[in-house]
């Protein structure tokens, strides 16, 4: 697959690099260079912003950093032009990573705040460049810098440089999309918290994507500095770069590596057509209008829409999987260890805005058992699951899982210790297919399977939960029952040592509950340890070995389900007989 794609890229590269030898007027070569230039900027922007949804309005800053790096090195230090390009990329990448290292630590800075912050950074950088000896006001002139004769003419040299960088950028964007990094980024786009809980190291991934994205923009800036040969702050750090880059990606489709390239080609050609006809003003208005229309009517972009249509047709071609072959969910459940403590919580407390959700809770989960966690609404059951899975940090107390304290670990590290959870209200990644949803935890869980194997594993779990026919659907097309099972499949695919189920049965019909009970029995039969929070008494009674009853954030009873459910305290708290 990769070999064929590589051959395709090489062939396209060879074919396109022959263009300068047809003797086109320099004018056309320059135009083609500009198309390639915008392709690099748009595709590189998309690596962070399109994939992960962190829309940066600061691409101009990194592009500009590259421009000024090349301009400064070439004019003031006499570094040969080609040697300045890696430096341009490096400076921009380091700048981006440094910014990201601060910004990505703050979970509130998503969406529009991230966009505006990066825009502000652009202006700050512009001011600094303008007022220091980097520029100082008059701009930098590169006309005296020698241009290496790669092509037969200067314009063809730029074309070839642009072509090389564009192909490299597209290749990188493609590889990232198809790698673990890409899968993680797309998951971050849909639900960053869930991604983290499933084992995606969100912080590092965002940083990596930002670094690559900025580095490529920096190299493009380096070439552009030479192309325009006169670099000024006003032109470099203008609003045009972020505006056009966002437009191109949104227009082409930001969920696919190739989408922004389509958008870049269309927009550049459009702008060129208007400029050539002396309607530059109308051209900008047209670009603005197109942006509005695309957002209102084509939210997936031209290319995105086309790809979606293609994928629909491929659904029927999905290979069938033998449902009778579910893999062992836990790699670490040898029968001999049964009955020993797997998870132990001591003195766990958590308060939200003054409300004590959990107070000094002790809990023990034994290997191989099914432990039911019951209690009235608001008694702290979900909070307990959220603490164990790392969604929140406890105010005090320890959580020991196979001897390791989880309370100090980041959520994605907890996932890697072999712990998985479901959400009461299913939280699938809305833009990933059912198959991709389930493959993700297999890639990021304890076994960290490679992509191909993870897909295979996912198919088996989908077959196990009866969702095989829906593998290529989007989660939005599933009904509640199917989405609940998708949650389950997603948790199982990481082959967890401990499975935390948060109200799997709520909202299901009687028949569906019977299904789910059968499924959980099957999971259990393979030796998994399960903690489940439940309201449906029937399921609790049929499935659990032991139950723990919570009320107002405290454990009020635990032990054999039938005995505990008869205790008067439990009856009063859980079933609400205030007068009893």
């Amino acid at each position: 697959m990769r070999g064929r794609a590589l051959a395709g890229f090489a062939a396209a590269g060879l074919a396109l690099s022959a263009v300068p030898f047809f003797g086109l007027p320099a004018f056309y070569e320059s135009f083609l260079y500009l198309v390639l230039h915008w392709i690099v900027l748009a595709v590189s922007w998309n690596i962070l912003s399109g994939y992960s949804g962190y829309f940066s309005f600061g691409h101009g800053a990194f592009f500009g950093a590259g421009m000024y790096t090349t301009a400064t090195l070439a004019t003031k230090a006499g570094v040969p032009f080609l040697w300045t390009l890696p430096a341009a990329g490096l400076v921009a990448a380091v700048f981006g990573v440094a910014l990201g290292a601060v910004v990505f630590r703050l979970p509130r800075l998503r969406g529009e705040l991230f966009a505006l912050l990066t825009l502000a950074v652009t202006f700050v950088l512009a001011t600094i460049v303008l007022n220091t000896s980097i520029d100082g006001g008059p701009g930098l002139v590169l006309s005296a810098v020698p241009l290496p004769a790669i092509g037969p003419s200067p314009s063809s040299t730029f074309y070839l440089l642009g072509l090389a960088l564009a192909l490299a950028t597209l290749w990188i964007a493609r590889e990232i999309q198809r790698s673990k990094l890409g899968t993680g980024l797309f998951a971050i786009h849909d639900d960053e918290d869930v991604a983290e809980v499933l084992g995606v190291p969100t912080y590092r991934y965002k940083l990596a994507a930002f670094g690559v994205s900025c580095g490529l923009a920096g190299i493009a800036g380096g070439i552009q500095a030479m192309f325009v040969s006169y670099v000024t702050v006003g032109e470099t750090f203008s609003i045009a770069v972020p505006l056009y880059v966002v437009l191109m990606s949104v227009l082409g489709g930001s969920r696919h590596w190739f989408g922004p390239a389509v958008g870049a080609a269309v927009v550049t050609a459009l702008l060129y057509a208007f400029t050539a006809g002396d309607y530059a003003v109308a051209g900008r208005a047209a670009v603005g209008l197109i942006l509005i229309l695309v957002i209102l009517f084509l939210p997936e972009g031209i290319f995105g829409q086309a790809v979606r249509a293609l994928e629909r047709r491929r659904v029927s071609a999905a290979p069938a999987i033998d449902a009778a072959d579910p893999p062992a969910p836990s790699a670490a459940t040898p029968g001999k260890a049964e009955g020993k403590t797997l998870l132990e919580a001591r003195g766990l407390s958590k308060a939200f805005r003054g409300v004590q959700a959990l107070a000094e809770v002790d809990l023990e989960v034994r290997r191989g058992e099914i432990l039911g966690l019951v209690g009235p609404n608001g008694s702290g059951k979900s909070t307990l699951i959220n603490l164990v899975s790392g969604h929140f940090r406890p105010d005090s107390g320890r959580i020991l899982f196979e001897g390791r304290d989880l309370a100090a670990l980041q959520a994605h590290r907890i996932a890697r210790t072999g712990l998985a959870r479901t959400y009461q209200i299913p939280r699938p990644f809305a833009h990933l297919s059912v198959l991709e949803n389930v493959a993700l935890p297999a890639m990021f869980g304890r076994d960290a399977l490679p992509r191909g194997e993870a897909g295979h594993e996912a198919r088996r779990w989908l077959a196990f939960t009866g969702l095989a026919a829906k593998a290529m659907s989007l989660p939005g097309e599933l009904n509640l029952h199917q989405r609940k099972f998708l949650e389950l499949a997603r948790a199982l695919a990481s082959r967890p040592g401990l499975l935390l189920l948060d109200e799997v049965f709520s909202g299901l019909t009687h028949a569906e509950i019977d299904d789910a009970i059968r499924l959980i029995r099957a999971i259990r039969a393979q030796g998994a340890t399960i903690v489940f929070v439940e309201h449906v008494i029937r399921a609790v009674m049929e499935l659990t070995d032991r139950i723990v009853v919570l009320s107002y954030g405290r454990v009020i009873a635990e032990g054999d389900p039938r005995a505990v459910m008869r205790e008067p305290d439990v009856v009063a708290a859980y079933l609400g007989k205030p007068h009893a």
């Binding site: 703050l106 509130r108 705040l113 912050l117 003003v281 670009v287 942006l291 509005i292």
Partner: protein
């Protein structure tokens, strides 16, 4: 570096307050529509410039610049309401409203350039020449007018939101629109009203721009960063926030200019913004 004289310092402070008032005036509508309706209207700046050019045009035809408000305010009110209707009709998210209004900005900019060309335009009016001397300091009438309007509109918006039934209903919409509706608040009507008002504020800001500044289409973007900084520093949806934050930024800029080179001024607002975003992201 020589310390500036006391007079120069006073004059800087004063000009900082005045430019801050304009930041606040430009930020008022932006802050209210972002904070209360979750619509980030980038086109607010383009609207303000459109207002400025219209004032320029009408004043050139012999109208008193202040009288142009009688035309501009109702027109912009309708425009703002129309924009909101469109965004609501397609239920555009906060983020996408940023993109849509980005596009709208480009269209309005092109429109301005098409009608009035890219040349610099300067409105000639009787107000422009009037200057008062207070102690050793000069105060120009247009700047004073800007401060007065910014104060009046911000205080009026504050009083409306704080003390009237419809104002409180507006705040309730910002907190939980469906529940507000369940208690009888006409969410659609009030949202249209607020959007109209925000656009009308842009029109008034446009008048002030035309009174004090030379106009060019490219200038639209020059205000964007500073005013966003003022809006975010002031707290979204807070009617007094942009003015207070605007004056803080304006004065810091003016002092930066007085003590260092003028070109360093933009760094102040953005540094302030970045510090606030990083230090207290929850506040925005």
């Amino acid at each position: 570096m020589a310390l500036p004289s006391l007079t120069l310092l006073g004059q800087s402070l004063l000009s900082g307050i005045f430019i801050g008032a304009l930041y606040g005036l430009l930020g008022l509508g932006l802050s209210l529509s972002w904070g209360m309706l979750r619509q980030i209207n980038l086109a607010h700046f383009a609207l303000a410039f459109l207002g400025a050019y219209l004032t320029y045009q009408l004043a050139g035809a012999g109208m008193d610049p202040l009288a142009t408000l009688a035309v501009i305010v109702p027109c912009f009110f309708a425009l703002g309401a129309l924009m909101h209707w469109l965004l609501a009709r397609f239920s555009v998210s906060a983020f996408n409203s940023l993109l849509v209004t980005f596009g709208l900005t480009a269209i309005i900019e092109a429109l301005i350039q098409w009608i009035w060309t890219a040349d610099f335009r300067r409105m000639e009016s009787a107000y422009g020449e009037v200057k008062f001397r207070v102690g050793g300091l000069y105060v120009a009438l247009p700047e004073l007018l800007t401060l007065a309007m910014a104060l009046a509109l911000s205080l009026a918006a504050w009083a409306w939101l704080r003390h009237t039934y419809t104002g409180k209903a507006m705040r309730a919409i910002a907190e939980d629109a469906p529940i507000a509706a369940a208690f009888g608040v006409d969410v659609r009507g009030l949202s249209l009203l607020l959007s109209g008002l925000c656009a009308a504020f842009a029109g008034v800001a446009g008048l002030c721009l035309a009174l004090s500044y030379t106009l060019a289409p490219g200038q639209i973007y020059a205000w964007l960063g500073v005013v966003f900084a003022a809006v975010m520093l002031g707290g979204l949806g807070n009617p007094l926030g942009p003015l207070v934050a605007g004056i803080v930024i304006g004065v810091s800029e003016a002092l930066t200019m007085a003590f260092t080179a003028p070109a360093w001024a933009p760094l102040v607002s953005f540094s302030l913004l970045i510090v606030v975003l990083l230090a207290r992201p929850g506040r925005i």
